[in-house]
Amino acid sequence: MKKRLLAVDEKTCIGCRACSAVCPVDLIRLSDEDGVRRIDFPGICDEDCQECARACPEEAIDLVFGEVQPEFVLSFDLVPCQRCGAPFVTYGEMDRLGKTIPQELQTDAFGASWITLCPRCRRSVERERAAKTLLVSRRGTRV
């Protein structure tokens, strides 16, 4: 008996959170553990819904009819933050960001690359920089 199947193109999927976030029945599950992102896909989906396919930035998901298939998992290595070492982004996501954001915006005014830092470290770097300026100006007013 033919069923409605989820076909995911492993080569184009970048491992972002879109499909798992939009699935109204929570059939697609995403988890980050030990530096690896794991996305669990159901083999079949009987819902009258195209949300995951529509949300996918890479158009990697197709809903097709075919013989029943088992659930499957896609795994993605996560890139560690260059400052704190915490894994935070898949290589596919990083690649997409690199292609979408113009080269000149990928580094800050000091020529440092921010794209390889996790969001928490980006905030810290920004704060450190700001604090340094203030500490210098305070030194001048000390008695």
Binding site: I101, D108, E126
Partner: protein, 160 residues
């Protein structure tokens, strides 16, 4: 007004760090207005408190990566349409300042309180560390504050 190359800002909330007392009142006000705080105050080296929030970049990288068009920019101001958001997380990864977060309600970033005359954080700040104005006016205010400070130190005999 933490402007970086190619990222010039329009009307903005500017944080005068020398006045920030790390009371976190801005975070509370923001949370009350939006359900979750979009400004983050932290103390650096136990001596300086620095608030970080959306810089309203002119060339907003969060908008560039938003393929469903949930984040859009018009005349410098960035708006968010939750109906279009897929929750992909790319905007979070694309913010140079780490000022974008994602939760079940969608993207969390400072929207400058479009329904208010003055953003909630600015109204609440007890030490007037947050300034809300056009960039040129902010620059004028900063110069004024610097001049007052200089005058005070000269009057008290301190050497600058």
């Amino acid at each position: 007004m933490q402007d970086r190359e190619g990222m010039i800002l329009s009307k903005a909330v500017y944080a005068d760090m020398s006045r920030c007392i790390a009371c976190h009142a801005c975070e509370v006000a923001c949370e009350k207005a939006h359900g979750a705080a979009k400004i983050f105050v932290d103390v650096v080296r136990d001596r300086v408190s620095v608030p970080v929030s959306c810089c309203q970049c002119e060339k907003a990288t969060c908008v560039m990566v938003c393929y469903p068009g949930a984040l859009s920019q018009d005349n410098g101001s960035i708006t968010f349409d939750s109906d279009r958001c897929t929750g992909c997380d790319l905007c979070v990864l694309a913010c140079p300042f780490g000022a974008v977060q994602l939760d079940t309600a969608g993207v969390r970033r400072c929207d400058l309180c479009p329904d208010r005359e003055v953003p909630a954080c600015v109204v609440t700040c007890p030490s007037q560390a947050l300034i809300w104005d056009d960039v040129e006016n902010i620059a004028r205010e900063i110069r004024k504050r610097a001049a007052v400070k200089m005058g005070r130190s000269l009057a008290s005999g301190r050497v600058l």
